[in-house]
Each structure stands twice: as C-alpha cells, then as structure tokens.
C-alpha cells in the first residue's frame, strides 16, 4: 500500500499509517497537534473540525470537515488545516473576534469554531451576509456560552470581511490578518503531490460520514475502496432540464447549485435542513442512498423527484428507479460490486416541489418524520405527483398510492383530506427514540397538508385542512 501524502498546515506529510485511520487520530496522535479535540467521534459536535483544501481549476477550495469521520486517505493530495495552522504572531481576525466578544468559556469546542469561521473567511464572497457567517458554525456545538457571544463575534467577522478582495482572496486574507502567509504557496505545493492510486476493491467509502459512525471500532479490518481519492468528474451536470449528480456529489454541491436554486423554490432552505455544514461538505448523495436509512433526507427528496440511479460494476451498468431500489430494511437491489455512479432526474418547467422535516432540533438532527412532494400542475389540476416519506416504515418510502391518488385531481380541501387518509393506508411507523408510531403517523398527515399549504397558499388554509 503506498503512503498517504498531503500538506498538514505548513508541513508536507507522508505516512504509511493505515489509510482508514481517522484524520482526527492522525492529527492528535501522529502529528501531536492537540488543538483538535475529541468530542463525540460521530460528527455531531464539531470539536474536531478541520479545513480541507482541495486543489481545483480556480485555486484551492477550502471546506470545513469533521476529522473524526474523515479517513486519512481523503486527505491525500490536499491541504489539511488545524487550529495550529491558522496561527499568526498574534491572534488572527477570527480569534480576536471570539476573544473580544467572550465567545469562549471552557474552550473545548473553541478550536472547532475558530476553524469553521476561518474556513468561512477564506471562501467568503460578496453576497454573504452575517447569517452566512453564523451558518458556518451550524455544525459546532457549544455547551457553555448559549451562542450569543459567538453570534456577536460572527457579526464582527462579517464586518471585517467587507473589503475582502475576492479576486486575490488569499493575498488579501494574509495581508489582513486572517491567515498566515504560507497559504499563498499552498496551491503550487499541492500541484507537486500526485494523488496516489488506491485499491479498487473493498467496501466503497466516500465521505465516511456514515461508515465511520456505524463501524467505528472495526473499520481497520475492512478492506475499503476509497472513492474520493481519484480525480473526479464534475459533481453536477445539467443537460437541458435534466440533472445528473455523480455518486460522490456532496450535499454542499447540491446546496450551492445554481440551476437547482433557480428552479426549485426554497431549495437552499431544504438543503440547510440536511445535517450541518461540515457534514454536508463531505457527505455524498451515493452514500446517503446506499445507507438506506428510512429517514435519509436526500433519499426522501430524490424519491419525490422520481430520480433514477445508475449502478456501475465491472460487469456493466444498470439503471433503475430509486423507488425500486429499497427492498426491505437496509436491503437494496444492489450487488456488492455495484457502485452508484450517477443519480438523475428531470425537472420539467413549472415543477412545484416541497420538503418538510420535523425533529427535536430543527437543524443538525435526524428527522422524526420527513416528507417531500413534486407536482406538475395546470391551474388547480394536478397532472402528476410524486410523494415520499421517511420515518414511517422500514425503508425510505415512495408513497405509491398517494401519488397515484393525487394525479389528475383538482386541489381542494376534500382531496387533500382524502389523500391524507390514503397515506395512512401505506405507512407502518414504529415507536422508537425519535417518536411514537402514533405521533409519526399523525405528524406525517399534517406535514403532507403542509406541502399543499406551501404550494397552494392561494387556495388552502390550515384552518380548513386540519
């Protein structure tokens, strides 16, 4: 097995450590950098956040990522930045904003916040507002401050970025005390590092956000096929009204896609409901689909977009409807050597789409129930509908009967109420830590009505529907 080469802060690393080692363990125990903290080891606290700089056509693009779920292999050929790598002779702008606003108390989560915020500063564009600075720490949990002091720091950071030169961002950031000057040389230095070839058989792993949670103890013993180490195709291709995601397209790729934002009202808000920034940066659509979680947000969204998936294996390519993919709890119509290489859907002009999700905490939480719908309509008449729901059965569920019932109907209070009864006939929720069966059933019916309140506000009111 070849070694892993990458730049960690200002140092070129070349290591023979097992490539499945988490980046977190490498940073703390091999590189002896203790500023990156262990909080939960499942991507839910952000104490281990690092930046990963990916070389591309427009220079190096930095993303925040949870190092506890990132295989060392995914650092290959990239620039990994920990809090130590952001050090200037004094504090950088982000650090001084956090200090001056008392944004740190016990300090354990603080390096994670600082790294996320520096990542924001590096990638910040003209159109970002203060809410986007706050959004960059949506994956960082602080148990001490109550966040208000951190919000105040975010506002200061936003102010100090107002004159950022977005044509020469790294130069400006270095001159203005956001990042150390060595960042300027990173793009050239990364060009010297060729990503290594990896073995092509084993369990496919992309971002690692699911596998590292599920197989935390055993990952070293599983042969892994690293999907993110090869040069990749563009994550999203739009051909006319047809959208194609590559299998390793990340949630962030989807969130930032212009075509989707322009053609699906509320798209950005829906994507923000999926996990948190550092997870969205590394979690992939293929991973979400094969994980087969009955409440996977992307899966529910793509079911309602009536997506198809392309499965690639050495023996060829197979295309099937996503709604045919799930055969039972965590059981897929997929051979072990097949990988999701593409996810595609049509988005005809005038498609109306909505996504609803309820959990204990609105953001960075797994749904109790989620549901999506896409509709083609003429006036009040539904030409066709695709409706999906999660958390109400063993698989992410395409609601066949409900979708069929709606097609051809005119939207009215009676029709929606009847459709909600159809839903009841095709779901089988169970009680668990995310809610009782009764709650999930009744909640789904309300969320389903919520779709129509969002899509047909001129026709319907909640008062009539519930």
């Amino acid at each position: 097995m070849p070694g892993t080469r990458f730049i960690l802060n200002n140092n070129l690393e070349e290591t023979g450590i097992h490539p499945s080692t988490t980046l977190l363990d490498y940073i703390r125990y091999e590189a002896n950098l203790k500023g990156t903290k262990i909080g939960c080891r499942e991507g839910d606290c952000g104490a281990c956040t690092v930046l990963i700089g990916e070389p591309g056509d427009n220079g190096v693009r930095y993303i925040s990522a949870t190092s506890c779920l990132t295989p060392l292999a995914n650092a290959a050929g990239r620039h990994v930045v920990t809090v130590e790598g952001l050090e200037l002779s004094g504090m950088n702008k982000v650090q001084s904003a956090m200090v001056e606003n008392s944004g740190t108390q016990c300090g354990f989560c603080t390096p994670g916040f600082v790294v996320s915020l520096c990542g924001f500063a590096i990638q910040a564009t003209k159109i970002d507002g203060p809410e986007d600075v706050i959004g960059s720490v949506d994956g960082n949990i602080c148990r001490c401050t109550g966040y208000k002091s951190i919000e105040r720091a975010c506002h200061d950071i936003w102010n100090s970025l107002q004159h950022k030169d977005t044509h020469k961002p790294l130069e400006w950031l270095a001159e203005n005390g956001f990042i150390p000057p060595y960042f300027l040389k990173i793009p050239d230095r990364l060009k010297q590092i060729q990503p290594q070839a990896r073995q092509e058989n084993g369990l496919p792993i992309a971002g690692g956000t699911d596998l590292y949670v599920q197989k935390h103890d055993d990952i070293d013993d599983i042969p892994l096929h690293y999907l993110k180490t090869r040069p990749t195709d563009p994550p999203i291709i739009v051909e006319g009204r047809k959208v194609h995601f590559s299998g390793i397209c990340t949630v962030t790729d989807m969130l930032e896609n212009r075509f989707l934002s322009e053609n699906i009202a509320g798209w950005y808000g829906f994507m923000k409901l999926v996990s948190s920034t550092p997870i969205r940066n590394i979690a992939t659509v293929g991973g979400n689909l094969v994980n087969a979680s009955p409440i996977g947000d992307l899966t529910i969204i793509l079911l309602a977009l009536d997506a198809t998936i392309e499965l690639t294996s050495p023996s060829g390519i197979r295309i099937l409807h996503l709604k045919e993919f799930y055969k039972g709890y965590k059981t897929l119509d997929k051979q072990p050597d097949e990988i999701i290489s593409k996810v595609s859907f049509d988005l005809p002009e005038g498609t109306r789409f909505n996504f609803e999700k309820v959990c204990k905490r609105t953001y960075l939480d797994i749904a109790s129930v989620n549901t999506a719908i896409s509709i083609q309509k003429q006036g009040k008449k539904i030409i066709s509908a695709h409706c999906s729901a999660g958390g109400i059965g063993p698989v992410p569920t395409y609601l066949h009967a409900t979708s069929e019932f709606l097609s051809g109907k005119e939207v009215s209070v009676r029709v929606i109420r009847e459709a909600a009864e159809v839903i009841e006939s095709e779901i089988s929720p169970i009680s668990d830590v995310r809610g009782s069966a009764e709650y999930k059933r009744d909640l789904l019916k309300n969320l389903f009505k919520g779709h129509f309140l969002s899509l047909f506000p001129e026709i319907l009111t909640m008062e009539e529907l519930v």
Partner: protein
Amino acid sequence: MINIDALNHVQGKSIYMDDREELKGTLYAVPFDFPVAHARLHQIVTDEAQNCPGIVKVLTAADIPGENQIGGIIPDEPLFAEHEVHFWGQVGGLVIGTSEHACRLARKKIRANYDPLPAVTDPRVAKSKDMLISPPRTFRCGDTAQAWSSCDHIITGRADSNGQEHLYIETQGAYAWIKEDGSVYVASSTQGPTAVQKTIAKVLGLPMHKVEIDTVRLGGGFGGKEDQATPWAVMAALAAKVTGRPVKLALHRMDDMRMTGKRHPYSTDFRIGLSKDLKILAYEATFFQNAGAAADLSPAILERTLFHCTNAYYIPNVSATAWSCKTNLPPNTAFRGFGGPQGKFAIECAIATAARVIGVKPHEIQSANLVKDGDTFPYGQIIKNAEARHSWETCTSGFGLDEVIHEVDAFNRSNFRFKKGYAVQPICFGISFTNTMMNHARALVHVYQDGSVVVSTAAVEMGQGVNTKLLQIASDIFGVDPSRVRIESTNTLRIANTSPTAASAGADLNGKALTLACEAITARFKDLLREELGWTDVIFRHGKATDRVSKNFIMWEELVLKAFQKRISLSEHAHYYTPEIFFDKTKEKGHPFAYHVYGTAIVEVTLDCLKGTYEFDRVRIVHDFGNSMNHDVDLGQVEGGLVQGIGWMTMEEIVYNDDGKLLSNALSTYKVPDIYSVPKVIEVKHLETSGPDLAIRKSKAVGEPPLMYGLGAYFALRHAVLAFNPEAEISFDAPYTPEKIFRDLYKKPVT
C-alpha cells in the same frame, strides 16, 4: 476583563486532561459494562479479552487492594460491580492495553454469567416498593392542614420533569502514574479533587498523603464532574498501580452517556391554595426523586429541592416532603441548580394550573406573592435584601410586559397556524453549600523575589471564569499588572481538604480565602514600610506602594526584595469559612444561605401548530448580579445558563426503555441547543443593587441561578399550545418536545 484563558483557547493551546504530554510506556484503559440493568452477577470471564493483541491486563473487583467502594455521602456504590449489577452501564472492570482501540476490541470479548432481575425505572414504583436511598425529608412552616379552610381556591396536580445529560464537550477522564515511593499522581478532569484523592486512597488502600490530584481545567463540568469524575480517576490510578505504568482513561462519548448519571428526573404531586386576591396561602408538595442505583449526591440534591420549593414566593403555610427513590438507572448527580430547578418547576406548574382554573394570568399570581424583606422561607431563614419585587418591576415595566401581552393576544387572534406564547419567570436561588461544613476554602499565595505572584486555590476552572476573577482579586490587592499574577492548577498538595467547585460558590469561597492571603502579605509589607520609612497610610496601586500622607512611593519589585532581605515571609496560606450560616437538620430550620440571587425573565415563543415546532423570539432578563466584578464573565454565565435551562425544558430528552437501557445514547439522539435553536434575542439588564458582603467583592454568585430562567420556556410554550387548543387537558411533563407539543395541540377536550 476578558477570560484570561481566552487567548489560549482560540489558539488551541489550552491543555485539557487528554492533551497532556504522554509519558513513555503509557497504557490506555477502557471500562466494560453489561447489557442489563439489574442482575445477579455470578462470574465475569475475561480470558479471551486478556489474550487479545495489545492487552496488558483486565481488572475486576478481585484486583482492588483496598475497598471496592466509591460512594461519597453514603457508601453504597462499588467501583466495579460484584455479585449484583444495579444499572445498565455499571462498570464491571477495566481493560488495559497499549491502545484505546485494542482495549475497545478486547472489551467485546468479555463474557459474564448473570441472572437478570426485574428493573425499576420509575421513582413512584420504587417508592411503592420501599426502595429508598435515604429517609424522606419534610420542610414545614405554618400549618397547611389549618390553612386549606381559609383558601378560596384549592388546586391539585402533578408535575414531571425529566433528567438532563451534562454533555460537557470534554468527556470524563484521568491520567495516572506511580511516583518513586508508590504514591500516585493523577491528572483528573474533576470539579472535586479532594473527593478523587480520598476515594483513590480508599480503593487503593493508601493514606491520602500518597495521592496527588492535579486539575488544570475542564472542558465543561456543569456538576457532571463533581462526584462522577471520581470513578474514572480511581480506575486510572488502580490500573497504574497494578501495571506499574502510566495509564490514561478518556471515556468514549457513548460510554460516558451510558455510564454516568444525569440531572434527576422528578415526579411531584402538588396542592396549592389561594385566597380571592391571589395570595398563595398554602402549598403542599411530595417530590419523588429518581436517584438511580446509588446515592451519589442525591440526598443533598433532594435537600435543595426542598429549599427552593417555593421559588421566589412567600407562602405562609408549606409542607413539602421529598423521597429519594432508588431505581435501576445510573446514579443521578449534580447538575447546575442541584435540585433547585426541579423544585421550582413544581411550584410554577402549580401556579400555572391555579391561574387556568381561576381564570387569571399566571404572572398575576406570581406577582402577588413575591418574597420581601422580613418574610421567612419555609426553612426558617428570614429574608434580607430581597430583590424579587425590584427585579420583577424593573423587568416587567422596563421591557413592557403589557405590550408583550397585547402583541401576543393580537397575533393569536389573527393567526391560526402560528401561535405566540409568553411567560414571566422570576427566580430566587440561595448561595452556599446547604451542607454548612462544606463552606470553606483555602488559598496559597507566593510572591517571588522578582515580584511575580502565583496563586493556588481549590477552585477548578471549567469555563465559568473563576480563575479570571481570582486573578483580578490578587492583582488588585497587590496593585500589580494582571500579567504579574499566575493562577496555578488546582492541586491537592498545594490546597488540601477542599470542597468541590460547585454550588455557584467557587468564586466567593476561594476569592475570599485569596483576599485573606493577599491582605496578610500586604499587611506585613505595610508593617515593614511603617517601621522602615514611617509610612502610615499605604496603598498598593499601579505597581507601587504609595504613602498617601507623604506621597512617597516604592516600586512593587523593590518592596518585595526589601521584604525578602528582611526575612519577611512572601507567602501566605489563608483559610476562609462563610460566617453566619447554619442549618439544623433535626428541625429542618436555620440560616443555610449566605445570600440569595434574584432575577426576572420574560420569555416569548412562536409555535407552528401544524408541525408542533417552535422558535424562541426573545428572552429579556433583569438579573441581580450584586456589584458584578466582571461583566463579560457574568453575562456569559447568564446567557449560557439560560440556554442550558431552555434545552432542559424543550429538546433535551433522556429516554430509557422499560429494561433500563438508555436509548438517547449519543449526540445523534440526544439534542442540546445549537446556534439556530437559541432565542433570536437575549437581552440582559443589570439590576442596580449594592451586593452583599458575603459575596466576593459584593459580586453575587452567578453560575447556577440563570439556568432557571429556562423554566419560562416551558410555560411560554404551554401558553401558545393553549392559545391553539384552549380546552385541552394537558399535563406537565417536561421537556416540552415537538412530539409532546403536537400531542397537546391535537388533544381532544375531555368530555
């Protein structure tokens, strides 16, 4: 002054237990437990684990040289389960190996033979089976039996509040090694170094002077590391003793959540009686505390529930009884507020119920009953310097409660899907350990020959900023720049027999001791200056000692050197104990608190009645800081405490199944507030008060009280739910999760 650790924190340079440089040969330890909440334990089979790669030793109770006992208040808790398993997550022993990973893999090979026994998770069931931690306690004043007849309204009900996971971001852990004479050094992430020292001595069979505990700082504590940091330090020390090598133990998050106790769930029956003019004449409450499987701090927490069962209200006739019920859950423990929040929740539920029955707003009852000077608390302490009315009026008039009510009503009339709710939440919280003997502290101050100063106290820094306050005190008394003073780690060799840093009292007790120590040194300096130079009125300011009469001065460094050359001690170890306080448990009367902290909050929420989800629009608080000695630190405590309280009342839901298995066992299933779920606006106003002498520099304790503003979140939500479903019969069952809200929104009225 900004927190003195802030600079290192933002640069990732602050050292926590797990960040300490490792000694060569360090081993790692992982505790193992059994997948059962209650069982008779016959045998633990460790051979297979013992033979796994990298495993040095597997320890069980048989390997303990001293006592297998870690109970603090009551000796009822073994370090390692022996004969019986009392809760799911109880540690059976320890796997020690060359890496944490090897230990975790080997742990899966541990086998145990046991017979499951029925598990009890409900405190009321435990009470009915006489499963109690300690005898019940009753606080009484007046005569409730007599009082009911003079009440115009008598209302009964039940209030349930669930536990709360501390979720310090740094998990529990310790790092131990053996010194040359068989004594043991332990770096422990603990709020109570002496408890750790004492327990290690007991379990290892060592005198206390052979056990050194050192604590630099914690990555969050919140009470979770008061008593429950101890077992992990004992295990690390035991493992070091048995193997002769340094051993580090840092709990994995899921182990931490499963194995450690949390805030106590309480179930409470109440009865409240009011006059026509809304005066509360009588209050009876029976508290069933879910203590878990061992005492831990439960009896002390139970006591504080009783102390705070009337919150900020004067009630002439009270009878409150509390039962500490033993269940098959992890031993529940200290958590910010220490039983006080649970006591206050019950009386607020009683008031909310009464308001609904009578047809008034809850705040009308709250306002009519606030404590005032000269009133007596049910435990006999006469109230002095009450700020309840002052904070209430400043809050409700300053923030315009009338406008809030008007806006909320208008909004609710014109909206169907969204409803707003509000609540006013007064607080009153007593400061001191309720166990009087714990209210003491010591400080050790060395002034070095070059004039630099080092301070040691018993206070443990865990983000609350106590070290910053201590530094302010020392630099101020010596009149030197803060950079001339260092606050050292908390270490049992330098400061012995300490009380834990808890009860919001860390800054008061240690700050007072530090004041005494610094003043003893300056007194010697003044004597010297009088004898040598005839100065009679010396002040220490700006790095100089100045005689106010002659205006002559001497630089601090010069003075220190002069004193040293005159063989005057430049060091002082001072002892402080809180005067005036006492409590007689045989009568349940006394004067247990140095003073009380007051404040009032208005909480506003908007509820989406289609989905049962909600957002807090605004929380505005008038808080009684006394004369705050550090606004930055104190504001952080109020904001952080409030949000933690809101979390407890809303999204933080601990779920055990009937077998006693924790289901909310990770951050993916137990949700604490994130940056998006906190109130959009939090505004905190300082109440202008002089502050009591027993508070450090008249700056009142601030750690715990603000958490209880979070109670208002529950009642604001309840208000919004009732705006949508006015006839619903709804119970009090915190936290008010979206699921419970949804249930109540669509609950049919009882016919």
